[in-house]
């Protein structure tokens, strides 16, 4: 029923050569997309600026954030408004607000990045194991995840800090322990679909081991998800840290942190609004930048598009 000319192979061989698709390089595509998206570009620029400021805080800050200036308080002992000497004014203890803001960025970024990194690690491990192994293991892991997830996150952190005591390390651990659940659930869902794909079946029929299948065929496909959730996680972690510090159980005093500055500033809001405005705006911009960057990454790393560009 099938009639083949003798020279079939050579003929169509050159034909199949021409069907090769050319693909744009992933980084070039990312760069081009960024240039056409001013919002995302600004977000990344701000994150970059924030990182530089945080890393080089001692070089950039005009003063020691803990120093109480004798000229930092007015005659009646009130905070000094922004002027040529103190660009963002001083706080109720006569400390320079700008310097505290810059050192506060350190705390925010450190807590945000480390907590998210830790949360991602836990989340990816638990989500991958649950999704890949399935069965009872999956049920136990996911019910545990649901349990942690069902706690109100802030209340949960407050309770944990109350037990562990406030310290920067504990803040990081507590946030990581509250946030991994989100990633675990998403990762499990993705693993469930990836493990049904034919290339995973092909690896299994070849006799490739489970660990190697997870490492080489499953984890690489999770990376876009991890990046997106990581970026959004940094924003969430920064907010939680600020909330904890606002409540006085975050980063211990006298270390500068945005949450603590807002907490103090609200007491003097009517007489010294800059105490509230400066850390408030910094916090809003930072969280916004990470969220917008996350949105842009979601679009860029969309699986359908991703397959083409990897």
């Amino acid at each position: 029923m099938i009639n083949l000319p003798e020279n079939e192979l050579t003929v169509a061989f050159s034909a199949s050569e021409t069907t090769v698709l050319s693909q744009p390089n992933f980084w070039r595509r990312a760069g081009r997309s960024l240039l056409h998206d001013p919002v995302a570009l600004c977000s990344f620029a701000f994150i970059l600026l924030l990182t530089v400021v945080a890393v080089f805080a001692p070089l950039i800050a005009p003063y020691d954030p803990l120093r109480q200036f004798s000229n930092g308080l007015s005659f009646v002992g009130a905070p000094v408004a922004p002027n040529g000497h103190f660009l963002l004014g001083t706080d109720a203890s006569g400390r320079d607000v700008l310097s505290r803001l810059i050192f506060g960025a350190r705390v925010s970024l450190l807590v945000g990045v480390v907590a998210t990194g830790l949360a991602s690690l836990i989340g990816v491990v638990i989500g991958t194991v649950a999704g890949y192994v399935g069965g009872v293991t999956e049920s136990i892991l996911m019910r545990f995840t649901d349990m942690v997830l069902s706690f109100p996150i802030l209340l949960f952190c407050v309770a944990l800090i109350a037990v562990t005591g406030p310290s920067t390390r504990n803040v990081v651990l507590v946030i990581a322990f509250a946030y991994w659940t989100y990633l675990a659930r998403v990762v499990r869902g993705q693993v469930l679909s990836i493990k049904e794909r034919e290339f995973v079946n092909a690896a299994r029929t070849l006799g490739v081991g489970h660990i190697k299948i997870i490492r080489k065929h499953i984890i690489p496909h999770l990376i876009p998800t991890i990046i997106v959730y990581g970026t959004l996680g940094v924003a969430t972690s920064i907010l939680i840290e600020a909330s904890l510090s606002f409540l006085g159980i975050g980063v211990p005093l006298p270390q500068a942190s945005w949450g603590e500055m807002i907490s103090e500033g609200q007491q003097y809001f009517q007489s010294a609004p800059w105490l509230l405005v400066a850390p408030g705006v910094a916090l809003i911009l930072t969280v916004l930048a990470f969220n917008l960057a996350g949105d842009w990454l979601t679009d860029l790393l969309d699986p359908a598009v991703q397959e083409m560009g990897s």
């Binding site: 029923m1 009872v136 034919e198 299994r204 029929t205 070849l206 006799g207 490739v208 080489k216 065929h217």
Partner: protein, 312 residues
């Protein structure tokens, strides 16, 4: 909380043998259990009963190292060339993975990959490409090379050419034949396309709702089909020479495998069904030389069958 899943008996009582260097074709409509047979053979799903033997030794329900060793002996080429290669792995990595399974040291991979690519008639330059830079036919050749990398005795081709367009399909089929001629590998060729099977297969099994309804050499089944279902399938193949001829047409849908009809599962659609077909399930019995058919009417002989209408 720990939900139970409903299981469907997708394949029932299917048995066949495949000789080395031979091709067995399995045909049937979608939902007939062709792919389930393939998945059970390579143990992606575990059959609830029955045995698979390879070289005389049973290979069902293997675990651990023994399962891994068995897997190398039976490989599979998948239907979808766009999903059977990891989009994040280059061609040389994909084939290299198979070579690692065989225990070949990394230093020898490049040479082996080049040799395998030549075997499937792809240029060696393709090794560094990713699947998205390849055409469907090229991807399928890479899949074949990957399967060959572990020197299997049997390769299961589950609709391996169904996604390719016709000119490429012919090339890949020819390639598979060449490989069989050179290496003596056995093929289990699963397809809904009868012309492909006629071209490839030495023996053919026709499946309907999880059972084999007709089995025989390719010659027997295609030139002298017995089962009404086989006849309908063959009549459905478009042909230039039989133009204008009245065709045997099948009405209705294949039944739900979870709830197959009583008796012969084909009886609601069968033009020749008699009363017995509704109640008694026909066995697969030998008629003629090697041909086997599961049909009451054929087994009794078409002339001798009482012509009673079925009230369905």
């Amino acid at each position: 909380m720990f939900g139970a899943s409903r299981s469907i008996k997708a394949v029932d009582n299917v048995s066949f043998t495949l000789q080395p260097g031979e091709t067995l074709g399995i045909a049937g409509e979608s939902g007939s259990g062709k792919s389930s047979v393939a998945r059970a053979l390579v143990q992606l799903t575990r059959p609830t009963g029955g045995t698979v033997s390879l070289g005389g030794a049973p290979v069902t329900n293997l675990k651990g190292q023994r399962l891994k060793r068995f897997r190398r002996r039976m490989q599979m080429v998948y239907q979808d060339p766009y999903d059977s290669l990891d989009p994040r792995m280059s061609v040389s990595d994909a084939i290299g993975e198979a070579l690692s399974v065989r225990g070949l040291p990394k230093t020898e991979h490049a040479a082996q990959v080049a040799q395998l690519l030549e075997r499937v008639k792809l240029p060696a330059t393709i090794a560094q490409r990713h699947p998205n830079q390849l055409s469907g036919g090229q991807r399928q050749r890479v899949s074949i090379a990957r399967a060959l990398a572990v020197n299997p005795e049997i390769i299961i081709c589950d609709e391996a050419v169904a996604a390719l367009d016709v000119s490429i399909r012919a090339q890949v089929l020819n390639l598979l034949k060449d490989i069989q001629h050179d290496t003596g590998v056995g093929y289990l060729f699963i397809s809904h396309d009868l012309s492909t099977l006629r071209f490839m297969a030495d023996h053919v099994a026709i499946m309907y709702v999880g059972r084999i309804v007709e089995y025989g050499t390719s010659e027997e089944v295609f030139s002298n089909p017995q089962h009404p279902y086989t006849r309908a399938l063959i009549a459905a193949v478009p042909s230039v020479t039989r133009r204008g001829e009245r065709r045997l047409k099948l009405s209705g849908e294949p039944p739900d495998p979870g709830n197959p009809p009583s008796g012969c599962p084909f009886h609601p659609r069968c033009p020749e069904a008699v009363e017995t077909c509704r109640t008694e399930r026909p066995e697969l019995l030998t008629i003629g030389d090697a041909q086997k058919v599961a049909c009451h009417v054929v087994q009794w002989g078409r002339e001798k069958t009482p012509k009673t209408e079925v009230t369905a």
